[in-house]
Symmetry: C2
Subunit: 403 residues, 2 copies
Amino acid sequence: MSSAAPGRPGRALEGMVVLDLGQIYNGPYCTMLLRQLGAEVIKIEPGGGEPIRWRGDGTTVSQAFNLLNGGKQGLELNLKSAAGVELFLRLVAVADVVVENFAPGVMERLGLGYDRLEEANPRLVLASGKGFDSASRHKDLRAMDITVQAISGMMAATGFEGQPPVKSGGAVADFIAGTHLAAAILGALVQRERTGRGQRVEVNMYDAILPTLTSNIAGYLDSGGTAPERVGNRHGGLSVAPYNVYASADGWIAVLCMRDRHWQTLCRLVGREDLLADESLATPRGRVEAIGRVDEVVSAWIATLTTAGALKLLQEGDIPAAPVRRLREVIEDPDVRERGMLVEVDDHGRPGYAYGSPLRLGASAPVAPAQAPDIGEHNGAVLSRLLGLTEAEIEECRRRGAW
Amino acid sequence: MSSAAPGRPGRALEGMVVLDLGQIYNGPYCTMLLRQLGAEVIKIEPGGGEPIRWRGDGTTVSQAFNLLNGGKQGLELNLKSAAGVELFLRLVAVADVVVENFAPGVMERLGLGYDRLEEANPRLVLASGKGFDSASRHKDLRAMDITVQAISGMMAATGFEGQPPVKSGGAVADFIAGTHLAAAILGALVQRERTGRGQRVEVNMYDAILPTLTSNIAGYLDSGGTAPERVGNRHGGLSVAPYNVYASADGWIAVLCMRDRHWQTLCRLVGREDLLADESLATPRGRVEAIGRVDEVVSAWIATLTTAGALKLLQEGDIPAAPVRRLREVIEDPDVRERGMLVEVDDHGRPGYAYGSPLRLGASAPVAPAQAPDIGEHNGAVLSRLLGLTEAEIEECRRRGAW
């Protein structure tokens, strides 16, 4: 399926076809990234659409769907029918990648286990996004973002000591797993260039979220298990201080001192030159041991300033800091719009939104944002272009219950 | 550098060489993933080591360093010396990938901008992990995990309404950006197989974190900006109810009803069949509108049960749920150990830890976990193997100040 001529930049995945059985966030984000690298992504849904379409009252589609599915081709298929499976396997034969994040065992029950797909196309990469390994003790837990955040320690590590565990406000388990899944697919495609063969790849959300807790895990291991479980806005491993979010006169600001010179500058800024002579505060470990006192020094100073005022002084002193911005400010940030990370698109006559790609490749032409498909919107176009079916043959598929 | 014979599985990146200038989490996690796909990763550090080594009191190395750098080759280089730059460029000529997540402009100041690297090796992929685009309004903000969580809306979206913003307990901005960076590199390597040329790729943390907020962004857009900014442990877009973390008699448990049938089963479980007749609670939207009442029904029931007891009943009813586990339980989870996600390794005679790979490729042989290098531990071995330098030539490099 590789149509780009050698020497011509084109796009990284130009000519590649991805069959996308993804649902909600994990699978669809993975295929969004692949589309933005130049692949053609065919979003395959059953008659009722994938579960994210069921949100709201069933008559409107949330922008959550539009954001992740822009520019994909919409193909309705009933994979519980023989005709649907047959058509899917014909598409597999001409595809490069299949992505699915169904519950465990669904593909096998549909008769679409890896063996059958590999038989249809030995060059195929089958990518499965799961919650847990099929041999895991946790394999019977339903893997959604919130359940994986609960069982993985992410919630235990988020929030303030002595207060309830908190879910990370982003769907971090879903998205970090979907990003890993894209990386696994791309790794398999690199390997395919040399071996000529595809393979099965899998990413489990439980595995993908673990490394994000490196500060906390290291804090636990380094302290012999005595480190506190959650530390609010302090450093997850309590390895750095100051490192916190401080209340200003009109908001909140994050400040950290990675290096001793940041601390020294800060002492001067806040008018506490006396602390420079305190040797117990001269090292990262010393400041962590006195973390309450250190935070108080910063808090007392920032409380007297506006966020913008504090930020200006901290930046002049080259001390890492950033305002805690409201979601509204982020969504309306001209930077986000101008870089194409969040753009308005026409959604079948309604206003829609699409994401741009965080992956910026200098020699791979960017892919324009586009509207997300309606269910089955491109059945005719996809089947005629990829399989060469005539109108009569397409109608015959429909009649036989392929969708 | 591709030594795997066609048809032989080997490893996805077998024979590839990655020069790793990464620091802290973002770059080093990216190269950890590349190593686990079979690449040789050479961790290049200045005399004092990369900043993560400075944590603690300077005599011990945190497990945070070991976890991300296992199995990399340690090369000490002084890139501020002409001899160091010269040696680095000779390595670039035989490498496939360079990864760096320095502050903006550092590579250029070292005389190692993309033009110079491309000249040394047109097949090279130069991967840069940054906080913001070089043209961004935010480009002067120092991009660390906490500052990016602050400015990106992640903190605004985490925590309870009316209470302070909360940092996600995982370093999600660093790790999701590092994972995207690995995907961008792999995309560029796929493209190189067809064009024969490398390219520059970049991932900005600010871009990479945005899609994780899809529920919240969609909630904002769908509601015309009236959705609450943070909603504790409820669904980020307030699109699903019940969806929360509930206190049990001995802990916390996450429960959600994705489908109407989950809600129906739950009503029976909690002995509130009367609610089945309440049409206002029959749709997702209806339950969200009555979210306080819905949460109370679930809370009252779960408070009477242990976490394990509630989980058992919910699982029997096929209702998605999971216990909120303590970090200790995760770190000591035999599942995590047996799957090789967190394993003990010998660290130069001390106890060390290494991560396994969330990327599981069926036809790419796994890479064994190994200890992280000391600074410059492999100078001799790397320079002799990759550049063919003799002992005398290596000594001459050292004498000229290359390290």
